[in-house]
Symmetry: C2
Subunit: 247 residues, 2 copies
Amino acid sequence: METIVPSDAIGWMPSVDQGGASVHNAVVSTLGGRILGGEYAPGAALPREDDLCAMLGVSRTSVREAVKVLSAKGLVEARRRAGVRVLPRDNWRLLDPVVLGWHPAIQDDEELVSGLLEARRIFEPAAAELAARRATAADLAEIERAVDGMRDNIPNDLNAVCQADLAFHKGVIAASHNVVLKGLVGMLEAALRATFLVTNPLMEAQSRALSAHVAVLEAIRVRDTAGARAAMNRLLDIAADDLHAKG
Amino acid sequence: METIVPSDAIGWMPSVDQGGASVHNAVVSTLGGRILGGEYAPGAALPREDDLCAMLGVSRTSVREAVKVLSAKGLVEARRRAGVRVLPRDNWRLLDPVVLGWHPAIQDDEELVSGLLEARRIFEPAAAELAARRATAADLAEIERAVDGMRDNIPNDLNAVCQADLAFHKGVIAASHNVVLKGLVGMLEAALRATFLVTNPLMEAQSRALSAHVAVLEAIRVRDTAGARAAMNRLLDIAADDLHAKG
DNA sequence: ATGAAAGCTTACGTCTTATGTAAATCACCC
DNA sequence: GGGTGATTTACATAAGACGTAAGCTTTCAT
C-alpha cells in the first residue's frame, strides 16, 4: 500500500533538537537526566507534582506533560494517590535515542557500552549481508558519500570524520531495508557517540578503519553477501580493539 | 549489577494494561490506532487541538497530553502555528510494544511481519548463544518452566501454549544478559502475537516445535554455545515454515 | 511589477484555578 | 482484633486566559 502524502507536507522533516528550548522539554531533560544518572533510582518515588513545580519553577501543566513523556519512555509510572515512581530498568526504552541522550556519562556505563558493542556485532554484519542483497543505487550512493566524507576529512576535521562514520553505518542499515534494524539506528547513534568519546583518534587507527569501511562498501556494491558480512565483522574487530586499547 | 530497590517499592510492578481506562490513554490509543492504520498518513496534519477536543469530547488538557505521548513515540511532531503532523514512518518507535499494539492488523502488514521474522533470525540465535554462556540457575529454571508449560498444555489449552512459548523466548533473551537484546522483548512479543494469529495450530506442528524448544533448553543447560545457536535456528526454521504454509 | 519589511492572525505553549476520583490511611464499631 | 467505612491525599480532568512564534498579508520603496 502506497502511503499518500499531501503536497504541502514537503519539507516537514522532524526537528533534530530534541532538547528544545520549550519549558516542558527542559523539565523532561532534567528529570530524565536525574533518572538515568541514578539520582532517582528504580523503585523510588519522584517528588509530588506540586513540589516539582516549586523545585523547577514551572507550572503543573509542564510537569504533568513531562511526566507523560517519561512515562511513554518507560522510565516512570504515575498512580493516583501513590505518586510517580521510577520503573525497573528493564522497562526503560534504552533503544530510544532520546533516552540514551539523557545518560549523563554513557561512556562510563560499562554494562551499557559493552552491551551496545555486543549488539552491534550481532546485527551490523547481518545488516551488511542484507544490504549486499538489497541495496538500491541510491543506498549505495549514500554509503559511498559517507566513505568519501571520511576520506576527505582525515586527519584534519575529526568531527566530520565521526559524522561520516555514523552516516556510513546508518546507510548500511537503511540499505538492509528491514524495519526492525532501521529501528535500531538511534541506538547505534548513541553507541558510536559513546565510542567516539572513548577512543583516542590516532591517525593510524583512522586509516585502518577507513580501509575496512571501503571493504564493506565494495562488497555491498558487488552483491557479495558473505564478503559484506565478513568485512563488517573486521570493521567491528577494529572498533572493539580501539575501545579496549583506549578505554 | 543488582539494582537496589527501596523496601516500600515492593509490589510496584508496572501495570500491564497500557490501554487503561483513563481519558488521555483512550485518546492516545485512538489517535495511535488511526496513525498506525493509515487514517492519518505520514506528512498529514492532525485536526487542530480544539477540533480534536470537540471530535473526541474531551478537554484540551487530555488532547495535549495524548499528543505529547505520541510525540514521545516518534509518531507526530507539533509545531507552533503549524499544527500537529504525522512524521515519516522511519521515526516511529516500532520496537515499542505499545506502538505495535496500536497496529490494527499487524498480521496483514506484510513488510512488518517478514521484517520481524527476519530480525528474529538475526537476534535470537545470538541470544541463545549468549544464554548458553551466561545463563544463571534462575534463568534456566525460568526457561524450563516455560517449556514445561508448553508440554503440559499441548494440545488442550492453546492459549496457554502460546503464553508459554512467549515466556520461553523472553527467558532466553533475559538469560543473554545483554541490555540491547532485552530492549527487544517488546518487539518479540508483538512478533509472536502476530505469528500466533496467522499459524494454524496443528498438533503435529506443535510437537515439532516443542522438541525444538527442548533442544534449545538442553544446549543452554550444558553450555553448548554452538548447539544453542543451531537449535534456535532450527526452531526459527520451523516457525518460518508454519508461517509460509499457513500465511 | 517585484521584493522586502512590517504588522496581523492563528494555533500551539504555558500558567492558573477549580473540581473529580481512586487509593492509602485511620478511626470506629462489631 | 479484625473488618468496614470516612477521611485525606495526590494524581486526573476540565476550562479559561494569556503568551509567543510562525505563517500570511499588506504595504511601501525601488
